[in-house]
Symmetry: D2
Subunit: 195 residues, 4 copies
């Protein structure tokens, strides 16, 4: 548990701050029901095309996830980028929002559902609109970005959620990669070669 | 011809500035050899996938071009965006640079050629490295963005090139669209529906 | 006026398509009340910071506008980019949407107004929510992007609006630049030097 | 140490993959010389403006870092975004590249140095051109993205570097935040309010 006296010590150096962050992840991942990710694996397999959406820092993590899915050979589009077409029947939307209430993301999830696409959400809160809209919701019980004085994380705003989404998704990517039995050299041929 | 006394008048109001801009386009397009665009039409048709690259404001015009090609049903990727894979044999790179010397774009064109992809360049200068690298080069004889005191354009930096690339490409798009005999309603189904 | 028999001729070549586009602009700009841009000039001058927003191809034109305002020395932020802070009292939002109904843009304009910021809109329709929300609305009477069978433009979707916003704003930029009496070389020192 | 027999077990489930990732971070951070970050703290404090650059997934982590620095009140620009001006004397460039050899990033660092700006690099390799160019180089001894068969990480390509850069920088952010003695509510007023 995090209290004022511990804060003094733990924030006194960057090293202590990082130790604290890694410890938050150890505790957080012990509380995530990772078997729910089996639904994600199945949905990725079944999808015609995969669309991804997130805002702010979560949006950057979503892009990191999208890029790895592309490396693995999936057809992916990030909402808001130039070549992203309309989502439609048979597609899948992966939507991440710590609070599960970000307006543009909830609206996108509604559009996806109306268009016949499946929706998987990643958020901190099962009761939020985004999780309620999704066929499958992955709950990461990190603090929300406006829950400022919580014992779950000492970090500012949604940092723990953003970091843990990246690690969770990269764990999923690792699993998918090993399951595919492809060599890293094979995946490498898909990496952007013009930047 | 543009001189100081004319500048005084033509810049005195926004209306005069716009009249001047439209007049620059009338003169510019009379000097572009549009039959060279037939090669672009053929290359777009032959390409497996189409990659597009541009920097700064030209980069925004390239994205506008890419989005319309997507609406028309082409498979397009903008260099630097999340889902852009490696370019390879059978692909096409459309590269725009007013000067034809922008380092990152010349380098991308070299990579494209080495990978077996075709390259079409859009620039102001046939002698520039980018035009020399390209199989087909479309020359838009607007002022380059560091040719500050030229009679071709009174506008700042590469504005005339950027505007004329947009109009030129939208002319090409219009031609491709009419040739395809598809209704606007059909194209509309491809428009992003989650923003 | 545009009709089927004319279309046959005018679309038969790319050259005819471009001639058609330039002619659409001549007609369009004769119908824009450019004196309304005086309010834009004043608002830009009065603003603490300038925020810009647009979606799709209009969003790319907004970015082109933002980049030139930066070159001129204004403090600008594009909504959705990494370093964009909260808009607040004394700031100005420039919001462009052909239809004036794009959800995310109308919502941003509402937020801007509630935050005490000024809003200037660019759209085709004075009756649309965006124009109604704005203190000053610039009407570009181009066809909206879902007005498919109109006599104003033969082009697909919002192309005429997007092109004309670029030309209009660059006309404004030209006016502001000349008024500032700065040399192009001075402006050039602000151009991004790391891409 | 990671070997084939362990791989079989550790990759059999997503849960095992995440356990593996967290364990890689525990080991990695025990090998980073975090006292070097004191130079980063000082450089951030001294800088006029802070520019950040990264490519691919590292670029997304750089954007996450930039956004938090903005929340903390620093003046930040991401290379390649619309409002990014020229870097100049008194500015600071934070450049991240796992390999330390990415062409566009090395070139940006050279430009920064020539312009009189300071450069801090984040990479896996002290001998790489990027680290050599930088006044201060932070070494994260993760595997490089083309070091495919290493014992440091079982993950694909640069994933460990990308994740650890995020955690490292967020540790730095946490330290800067606590040192500034500002409340989370104060920081929150800077969060983008139009998305």
């Amino acid at each position: 548990m995090w209290n004022e006296s511990e804060m003094t010590t733990e924030n006194s150096t960057i090293s202590n701050a990082i130790t604290r962050i890694l410890s938050e992840h150890e505790q957080l991942f012990s509380r995530i029901q990772l078997e729910n990710l089996d639904d994600v694996v199945q949905s990725l397999h079944d999808a015609n095309r995969i669309f991804l959406i997130g805002a702010g820092r979560t949006g950057f993590m979503i892009k990191a996830a999208a890029m790895r899915l592309m490396h693995l050979g999936y057809t992916v589009y990030v909402v808001g980028e130039t070549n992203t077409p309309a989502i439609s029947n048979g597609d899948l939307l992966l939507a991440a929002s710590g609070s599960g209430t970000t307006g543009s993301i909830v609206k996108a999830a509604e559009t996806a559902r109306k268009s016949g696409a499946a929706v998987i959400s990643f958020s901190t809160n099962q009761d939020a609109p985004l999780a309620q809209l999704a066929q499958h919701s992955v709950i990461i019980p990190a603090a929300g970005k406006q829950e400022f004085h919580t014992s779950i994380s000492a970090q500012y705003a949604g940092s723990l959620f953003e970091q843990s989404f990246l690690i969770l998704f990269d764990g999923l990517v690792h699993f998918l990669w090993k399951k595919s039995k492809t060599s890293p050299e094979e995946l490498w041929t898909r990496h952007a070669n013009m930047e």
